[in-house]
């Protein structure tokens, strides 16, 4: 039942709304990328912008990521605030030099004499059998390299506020939105991502995690789609009498280690859920945030529910076998050998 004062938006619409509102008040903001103008973005996140702002500020590019992401760096250093789309994060392979060697390093190399106020928005995730070059997450790849802020909203409220915050940031922000949360029916949308979004412009702080469900027995930490899997797992655990807390990281860089530590200090147990590859990534970093700080808070060894270290397979059964899901999270709890709570 929808409450009368609710204004439910998809992440796609929330992103477009934030962009439009910022473009109305800041003439230096413009959007460029592949199919972002007439098409409104493959994932709907620039829909309606061309009509309001025209082709000069809503700029379709050639299929030429190295050039237009490099150009965004140059424009950002010259006083503009580009919002650039890398259609699939998987495509980073053709243009990463512009991203990690220029966008991410020029503030530092200039000793802070330059600002690089640009947002690189890119789609991640999937789970709809699009094969191994169209739905990786690559959170760890981007978050590993210094000089980029990295955010990944799990719902439309955060999506709008993070987009506004990212566009106002003087440092580069990689905005990783999840295809399965976009509200595009053809991608099998997660309903929990479509939530109430205030009409007025607002920001969500970059670098601040959110406890989205309070609990006592275990902390399930994740981002993006993983948050929804964690919430579903928490419900299943509740049926078993287990009280799970769920932490939505919201932002990977900066990483809110304090919120993670505070949650695990309370629950004593940690499960990290990550749709990105398991090794050398987000899940290990979250666990290290706890263990290198105070290992004594842990009542059990932490667990990870992440994508195994294999390329993403096409066949439906293989793909779904690899993906994290609520049952795997529940199984992780069982494997922890945790004592049943009193």
């Amino acid at each position: 039942m929808t409450k009368s004062n609710e204004r439910k938006l998809t992440i796609a619409r929330a992103m477009a709304e934030a962009t439009a509102q910022e473009m109305r008040i800041d003439p230096s903001v413009f959007v460029m990328g592949e199919d972002i103008a007439a098409l409104g973005g493959v994932y709907g996140n620039t829909r309606g912008l061309l009509d309001e702002f025209g082709a000069e500020r809503i700029r379709d590019t050639p299929i030429s990521e190295t050039a237009f992401i490099g150009a965004a760096v140059g424009a950002a250093q010259d006083g503009m605030r580009p919002l650039v789309e890398l259609m699939f994060v998987d495509f980073f392979g053709v243009c990463f030099d512009a991203i990690y060697n220029l966008m991410a390093k020029n503030i530092y190399f200039s000793g802070g004499n330059l600002k690089v106020p640009m947002v690189l928005m890119t789609s991640t995730g999937g789970g709809y059998s699009d094969g191994g070059q169209h739905w990786q997450c690559l959170y760890g790849t981007f978050a590993h390299l210094p000089g980029m802020k990295v955010v990944a909203p799990s719902n439309a409220y955060d999506a709008k506020g993070l987009m506004t915050a990212a566009m106002r940031d003087d440092s580069p922000v990689v905005y990783m939105y999840h295809k399965g949360l976009q509200g595009m029916g053809w991608l099998g949308t997660e309903a929990g991502a479509t939530v109430h979004v205030p009409e007025e412009s607002y920001t969500v702080e970059i670098g601040k995690a959110k406890v989205v469900r309070e609990g006592r027995d275990v902390s399930i930490v994740s981002v993006g789609m993983g948050v929804h899997n964690a919430l579903k797992a928490a419900k299943k655990l509740e049926e078993k009498g287990i009280s799970a807390e769920v932490v939505d990281l919201v932002s990977l860089v900066p990483l809110d280690r304090e919120t993670i530590r505070a949650s695990v200090a309370k629950t004593g147990r940690l499960i990290v859920v990550d749709e990105d590859y398991q090794s050398y990534g987000l899940s290990g970093e979250v666990i290290a945030s706890v263990t290198e700080h105070d290992i004594s808070v842990l009542k059990a060894a932490p667990k990870r529910v992440a994508f195994p270290d294999v390329p993403i397979p096409y066949a439906r059964v293989m793909e779904q076998f690899c993906l994290p899901n609520p049952d795997k999270i529940v199984a992780a709890w069982d494997e922890m050998g945790a004592l049943q709570p009193a």
Binding site: S28, F30, E56, R57, T61, P62, S64, T66, A67, F68, I69, G70, A71, A72, V73, G74, A75, A76, Q77, D78, G79, M80, P82, V94, D97, A98, N101, L102, K105, N106, I107, Y108, F109, S110, G111, G112, N113, L114, K115, V116, P117, P146, G147, K149, D169, D170, S171
Partner: protein, 329 residues
């Protein structure tokens, strides 16, 4: 249009300053690096790419630019930086890795940024193309004056990013000029072994823009070609491509034994050193007197000496400052 008398003096002054700067850097570079050559030692550690011989390109182009125009350059940046007006004291200090350097020692000789004169360089081939095209886009969108020039080497044209940026500049009709400094060598690989066409000006046809080749490392001819391209960009008529034949009198980097060069090639190059050639031409044309040229040379040397002293006398950065300025303040 030929350079004015003042412009000719400016060009000669910047060529001499660049050469004196690099000669001084070259000497200091070997301090602490003998008897065993270790790149990490001495007051100037790391790789060092000198531009001796390529000065005419920098001055011929930058004579048309003002501080508000944007330049991106390469791993071999000093001649362009000097011609663009980068603060020489801070640039020297950056090369020495000092706290007073352009970025407080975070960038080094391949990563010089001077926002006051819109100069930036970077260490990977063709990397400056995108940012220069983006700066040109920014000026066009803001309706602000200024053009963007990307200096690249002739090896850069074989990078995909070079082509992408050329196409983007052309399809968006941006105030952009790409200047290719053809020194004939990509480290040890000759241009003829790397590039399918003898000269790269013909590549302009692929973008439907003017392309011009300047032979002979001649600062006057470069000035004229650059003048045409930059005027076109300023008039909103779109990008241009210029390839300039130039010579690398030094190795790719300091310590390069240059065994790949055909025997005698460098002897011939030194005979074509553009600085004595320009000096002789200024005298012959009556564009400068011996006294004027001597004064320019003395001033240039003093300017370099001051910068080097500034760098030597500056303090090292605090090591822990390495952890700062990753993000904008």
């Amino acid at each position: 249009m030929a350079p004015t008398r003042d412009e000719q003096h400016w060009m000669y002054r910047n060529m001499v300053t660049s050469r004196r700067f690099e000669e001084t850097i070259a000497k200091i570079y070997f301090e602490g690096k003998s008897p065993a050559f270790n790149m990490a030692n001495g007051p100037i550690p790391g790789e060092m790419h000198l531009s001796d011989g390529q000065e005419p390109v920098a001055v011929g182009v930058c004579a048309h630019l003002t501080p508000e125009d944007v330049v991106t350059a390469t791993h071999r940046p000093h001649h362009r930086a000097i011609a663009k007006g980068v603060d020489l004291d801070k640039m020297a200090a950056e090369i020495f890795g000092k706290a007073t350097g352009l970025s407080g020692g975070r960038g080094g000789h391949m990563h010089l940024f001077d926002a006051d004169v819109n100069f930036a360089c970077s260490g990977i081939i063709a990397q400056g193309m995108g940012p220069a095209v983006g700066a040109a886009l920014s000026r066009k969108m803001q309706g602000k004056p200024g053009v963007a020039v990307a200096f690249v080497g002739e090896g850069a044209v074989n990078q995909g990013g070079w082509h992408e940026a050329m196409n983007l500049a052309a399809v968006w009709n941006l105030p952009f000029v790409c200047v290719i400094e053809d020194n004939a060598w990509g480290i040890s690989v000759a241009k003829s072994a790397a590039t399918a066409v003898p000269t790269n000006d013909v590549r302009a046809a692929a973008y439907g823009i003017p392309g011009e080749r300047v032979e002979g490392n001649d600062p006057f001819a470069i000035y004229e070609a650059a003048g045409r391209a930059i005027a076109r960009a300023r008039a909103g008529e779109g990008p241009s491509l210029i390839e300039v034949e130039t010579y690398r009198l030094a190795g790719h980097f300091m310590g390069d034994a240059e065994g790949y060069r055909p025997e005698g090639e460098k002897d011939g190059l030194f005979e074509k050193d553009p600085i004595p050639a320009m000096r002789a031409r200024l005298l012959k044309d009556g564009a400068a007197s011996e006294e004027e040229l001597a004064a320019i040379e003395t001033e240039s040397e003093a300017r370099v000496e001051k910068a080097i002293q500034f760098a030597r006398n500056s303090v090292d950065p605090a090591p822990e400052d390495a952890l700062t300025r990753v993000f904008a303040a």
